[in-house]
């Protein structure tokens, strides 16, 4: 799992719910981007593109993330308190 601490104090956890789906989705993005460039360059390109769109959806980053990665086989969780004793599975 991956845990993220953001500058506004939010704490998120990303968890794989379907590894095959995630693997296929990532590979298909790499395929879609063609034969030019390394895998890392493709990751960087997509990361940058995603970041630009985060900028346009700052008011609802969670919803945007969930929509973009709806079919990636990943689940997003958010801590509801600073004690990290209460978590929500964020869904569309």
């Amino acid at each position: 799992m991956m845990m993220l601490v953001t500058s506004n104090g939010s704490v998120y956890v990303l968890k794989i719910s379907d590894v095959d789906k995630l693997s296929n989705s990532i590979n298909d993005i790499f395929d879609f981007l063609g034969d030019n460039g390394t895998e890392q360059q493709k990751i960087d390109f997509t990361t940058e593109k995603l970041g630009l769109n985060y900028d346009k959806n700052l008011s609802n980053l969670e919803g945007y993330f969930l929509r973009v990665f709806e079919n990636f086989g990943i689940s997003l969780y958010k801590a509801n308190n600073s004690d990290l004793s209460d978590w929500s599975n964020l869904k569309l």
Binding site: M2, M3, L4, S7, L14, I16, I29, I43, N53, W87
Partner: protein
């Protein structure tokens, strides 16, 4: 191949979605997809409870008043245990057909009576072959439609000249099976440090599509069977979705009952199917997080780590910490890879420990970066998963 095709379409949509958002519109209209499968409510009932559905009750009473021999196929139903399934468009009653022990050891025989919109009646004989293990063979379900208004009396069919057409789509339902040894672990993830036991994905045939065609002679034509095989003179499903219902494959046996609002999986387990109870079930990931954090008394102190990281998000660099599993005195514990937070070189560069026991990474996205996971994070998560023992 279908999955590959679908995935490629998704990849294209992924980038179209990007372009759609970044190039042309400031706002994205949310796309809400409704589940393909109907929402169900279910219960175990008796024949008396059937009286709430007058048509079904009358048909059943008519059947029960006759000597069994009058049923041209000599079927006797167990009416003491009926599985009732209700959706927005249909109500379905599944009976176990009485069998001797030898016959039951080979096949579980059910009779399924379905009413679409409280009017159209569908009768099906459904056989579930029994595997050597005693579980039901959910991949080779045999479903035969009976025509006619009277129950289990196919010779009264009004419109059987064309014969039943066979057209069945089976849908597999797959779900993660988490193992609960020292925390909850999803598919592919090791349950124990030696990696012998892992969570996995279980798939069972859960749904079948039935094409409901009222036809010109006011009877119904139901298609079930093999999509590639087809039946002679068969009606085939049109594009009219209103004529298609999706019903669960729900093997029913009073000796192995499933609780209300659940379906039998054929192997002795039951799966809760409707949304309401599912929401009430403990989320395994939340359980895992709670286990990780509440049991975290000596080695990691995740809350302290997170609180410390919160103070670091105003720095112009990213911080991270990787966690791994270790055996201490025969018991599995979570430990830090480094005693201190790892300070990286820039706002967006980070380093994640990848290894057989490295299962978790905590990191910051500092002020000026995005308050959400990056695509790099997602790929790294996948890499971490692949490297786990």
């Amino acid at each position: 191949m279908i999955r590959n095709f679908t995935s490629r379409i998704l990849a294209v949509l992924f980038f179209i979605f990007f372009c759609f958002v970044s190039c042309e519109k400031d706002e994205v209209e949310p796309v809400v997809e409704e589940s393909f499968f109907p929402r169900l409510k279910g219960a175990a009932i008796t024949s008396k409870d059937l009286s709430s559905n007058p048509l079904a009750y009358r048909r059943l009473m008519d059947y029960l008043e006759k000597p069994i021999a009058k049923s041209t196929i000599g079927i006797e139903l167990d009416t003491t245990f009926i599985r009732f399934i209700e959706t927005d468009s249909y109500k379905s009653y599944t009976f176990k057909i009485k069998q001797d022990s030898l016959d039951r050891s080979r096949t579980l025989k059910n009779f399924v009576l379905t009413y679409v919109n409280d009017t159209i009646q569908i009768q099906q004989l459904v056989d579930y072959p029994v595997l050597e293990s005693g579980a039901l063979d959910m991949e080779n379900i045999v479903s035969v439609r009976l025509f006619g208004d009277e129950l289990l009396n196919p010779f009264t069919a009004k419109c059987s000249s064309g014969g039943p057409s066979y057209y069945q789509y089976e849908y597999q339902y797959c779900y993660p099976v988490y193992c609960s040894i020292s925390g909850l672990h999803g598919p592919g993830e090791p349950c124990t440090i030696d990696g012998v036991q892992r969570g996995y994905t279980n798939c069972v045939t859960r749904w079948q599509t039935v094409f409901v065609d009222q036809g010109s002679c006011e009877s119904i034509t139901i298609s079930d069977g093999n999509p590639s095989g087809g039946g002679g003179g068969a009606n085939t499903p049109s594009d009219d979705d209103d004529n298609i219902i999706i019903i669960p494959a729900n093997p029913t046996d009073p000796e192995n009952p499933c609780p209300n609002n659940s379906l039998s999986e054929g192997g002795g387990d039951c799966m809760i199917v409707n949304d309401e109870p599912e929401d009430q079930l403990p989320d395994p990931v939340i359980n895992e997080l709670n286990n990780l954090i509440k049991k975290d008394t000596s080695f990691v102190k995740i809350k302290d780590v997170v609180n410390l990281m919160k103070t670091k998000t105003t720095d112009s660099v990213e911080y991270s910490l990787s966690l791994y599993k270790d055996l201490v005195g025969g018991e599995e514990f979570t430990k830090r890879r480094t005693t201190q937070l790892v300070r990286h070189k820039s706002l967006t560069s980070g380093y994640v420990n990848i290894g057989s026991f490295d299962f978790c990474n905590i990191h910051t996205h500092p002020l000026g970066t995005h308050g959400m996971f990056s695509f790099q994070d997602i790929v790294t998560l996948k890499t971490m998963h692949d490297s786990l023992n």
